[in-house]
């Protein structure tokens, strides 16, 4: 990863120790990138195995018990170790201080500590796999998990519990950094929307995560000590577990989504060469989503035995979340309107995000509808819905962010053509994998089932084919991004001619980001129309980076 000889955060010190003891928020972001990619590979592998197994109506290469363990591990790893930390812990860590003109996060030691906590949680999760796996589903519903499952429930729950602390500490760091570390002139409404997204996310991390921590702790106590908390045999109420679980786990969906929305705002504005449309609306809709997100968890429990009255209230409130979500989509669309849009790889991912989020969000309104949800509850319709939001949208945003800031993070350019191909491939593969699942679910295929009637096979085969294409779409970037580290062209400070403090400093940045504290004098997203297409620099950029 050497650069052109100038000193930067990557080459300032060398050796494993300099990385494992680093307090630099950028290096910690890279550490997270490595950890998160690892768990993404593990979770993806399990997903692929599940899809292959579902090619036939009857079991063909794994036992039903193994199948249960595979979908649980896929869920636990992807939720707690990929989706939740992905954008905040990698890109948030790397970019939030730079974007607001700070030298580092407010608590650098805490930042490093949270990475170690995350890795310990991850290894507990891997340990649960190695020692026999878990078969409860990532939701750990009681009383099965507390009293009946004979698998590694305590280990897997403690993995999620520990990972939660990492998430809390990261969120705490974000809020303090954003409040206290902004450069002179960086007012709240000059902050990039990426930072607003992370502020809202951090609120959920701090206020939601402890509730699942205590819930999982009670579950572990019940299983480990035999006390009755959720066990109906001892008078406990299993529905209460679901209340406490979803009090966090629904807002957790917005932990996955809000940072991604911040990424999309940056990318769309940059590649449309226009200031973002409706900055204030996008900023406040992030906060609105974060707060409304705490009031809707009961829509996961319409068929659980929760009271009908509560269901009605939750149903209505859930639909209200569609409003701030739609505000964002409209504003992104309006930003592109009459803009000078170019289709670089990050922009393709961003467009994919909007398309897939649209489908995922609108099917969410279907599911919020009390009556319809009774029909499709716990079917593949739900599976397809949340994969559209969590994989379609969040992973698109994740890859978009990776492609947008890769030159800044590594100082290297990646080749545009394979990047564009893989962006289109993931979109195609994703739709092929999950569109048939809406149909499957509507026709009555329940989630988490190992076998199914013969008439569902065609749709399952489509889905598996799509998942395979998706897998290839994820593999290609892994190859050319690693390739670019060694052979990619050196990146200039601002390859996309983007606005924002991170593009004013060299690529890769120096350890303390700024030689001197910047003084911000401009509004955010001060894009002023199309690039002058005759300048030598722009022609070179178009050839090299596809601006």
């Amino acid at each position: 990863m050497s650069s052109d000889g100038t000193l930067n955060y990557l080459n300032v010190t060398h050796g494993l120790k300099s990385w494992l003891l680093t307090l630099d928020h950028k290096r910690i972001g890279i550490l997270y990138l490595i950890g998160v990619s690892m768990f993404f590979a593990v979770g993806g592998l399990f997903a692929l195995l599940l899809r292959v197994e579902l090619l036939t109506p009857e079991p063909w290469f794994i036992e039903s018990d193994t199948y249960n363990k595979f979908f649980t591990l896929h869920g636990v790893v992807m939720t707690f170790f990929f989706l939740i930390p992905s954008i905040p812990a990698i890109f948030g860590n790397f970019l939030v201080p730079i974007m607001i003109g700070a030298k580092d996060m407010a608590f650098p030691k805490l930042n490093l500590f949270s990475w170690y906590v995350y890795m310990v949680g991850g290894f507990l999760g891997v340990g649960a796999i190695a020692l026999g796996g878990v078969d409860t589903g990532w939701t750990f519903y009681t009383p099965y998990s507390s009293g009946y499952a004979s698998s590694q429930v305590i280990l897997a729950a403690s993995a999620a519990f520990v990972a939660g602390f990492s998430s809390i500490l990261t969120g705490l760091n974000f809020i303090v950094t954003i409040h206290k570390m902004r450069a002179p002139g960086m007012t709240w409404f000059r902050m990039p929307l990426f930072v607003w997204g992370h502020y809202a996310t951090a609120l959920i991390m701090i206020l939601g995560t402890p509730v699942i921590a205590v819930t999982l702790l009670l579950l572990m106590l019940e299983r480990g000590l035999g006390i009755g908390i959720f066990d109906p045999k001892l008078g406990g109420d299993p529905i209460l577990f679901q209340h406490l679980f979803w009090f966090y786990s629904h807002p957790a969906v917005y932990i996955m989504l809000l940072p991604g929305m911040g990424v999309i705002s940056e990318i769309i504005s940059c590649f449309s060469r226009k200031p973002i449309f409706g900055y204030n609306f996008i900023a406040f809709s992030s906060l609105a989503i974060a707060i409304l997100g705490f009031l809707v968890w009961g829509h996961h429990m319409f068929t659980s035995g929760q009271s009908v009255y509560t269901g009605v209230v939750f149903s209505l409130l859930t639909m209200a979340v569609a409003v701030p979500s739609a505000i964002k989509v409209f504003n992104w669309t309006a930003t592109m309107f009459k803009g000078s849009v170019s289709f670089s790889a990050p922009m393709l991912y961003a467009l994919g995000f909007i398309a897939l989020f649209l489908v995922g969000g609108l099917t969410g309104v279907f599911l919020a509808t009390l009556g319809l949800d009774i029909h499709v509850h716990d079917t593949y319709f739900v599976v397809a819905h949340f994969h559209f939001v969590m994989v379609g949208a969040t992973v698109s945003a994740y890859l978009g962010a990776l492609h947008f800031w890769w030159p800044k993070m590594t100082g290297r350019m990646y080749p545009q053509t394979p990047a564009r191909v893989s962006a289109l491939l993931t979109l195609f593969g994703f739709v092929l994998a999950f569109l048939p699942q809406f149909v499957l679910g509507y026709l009555g295929m329940p989630r988490r089932y190992h076998t199914y009637p013969d008439e569902f096979q065609l749709l399952h085969v489509f889905s598996t084919a799509g998942a395979s294409v998706l897998g290839v779409g994820f593999l290609i970037p892994a190859i050319y991004l690693v390739w670019s580290l060694f052979f990619g062209k050196l990146a200039p400070a601002n390859p996309w001619f983007a606005k924002g403090l991170e593009w004013d400093i060299q690529s890769p940045p120096t350890t303390f980001n700024f030689e001197e504290t910047p003084i911000v004098k401009e509004e955010p997203y001060a894009y002023d129309g199309p690039l002058p297409d005759n300048s030598e620099e722009v022609l070179k950029a178009g050839e090299n980076y596809g601006v």
Binding site: L207, D237, H243, F294, L295, G298, G305, T310, V313, F314
Partner: protein, 164 residues
């Protein structure tokens, strides 16, 4: 709050007497809550106990934790937790309070339903609740553990015993 002073960094420094006065108030409130808990306040037993607990908490937060002299953001933060906790309490309580004895999709009801109909038992040993099936009208009874209306045979306040 005349005993307050600030050091040269603009931080609030409470005097010893002031801190002692807060401690005295907290201990007084502890005895007050003990006293009110010993009285029969009917429905108000728990609300009064909680009110006093909130009073003590307010004293600790404002004066021991210096929020009174803190920044606006710290003031907001110190109540944020309460606000979000209210969300959790409100919805789960609305749920358990409005669960029908028989849901449209089955006979499942909340686990305590069968036992709630018996408030304070008249016999010391409570057994055989099987015959008390959930009655819809009982569900909306407030959660006070000893609503006077239910038990005419209840003894006068204070006649209970903690130690025999």
């Amino acid at each position: 709050m005349g005993h307050a002073a600030s050091d040269e960094h603009g931080l609030h420094v409470s005097s010893v007497e002031f801190n002692l006065r807060i401690l005295a108030s907290l201990i007084f409130l502890t005895f007050l809550t003990y006293a009110t808990a010993s009285m029969d306040l009917g429905y108000f037993d728990t609300p009064v106990a909680l009110l006093i607990a909130f009073g003590k908490t307010t004293l600790v937060i404002l004066y021991f934790m210096h929020v009174r002299w803190g920044s606006d953001y710290v003031k907001i933060l110190s109540v944020t937790g309460f606000v979000f906790l209210i969300f959790l309490f409100a919805f789960t309580l609305v749920d358990v309070g409005s669960r029908a004895p028989e849901q449209p999709w089955g006979k499942y009801t909340w686990p305590g339903a069968a036992h709630r109909t018996t408030m304070i038992p008249s016999v010391p040993v409570v057994t055989g609740h099987g015959e008390h099936d959930a009655h819809g009208d009982e569900h909306h009874a407030p959660s006070s553990t000893h609503s006077p209306g239910h038990h005419e045979d209840k003894e006068a306040p204070g006649s209970h015993a903690q130690g025999h």
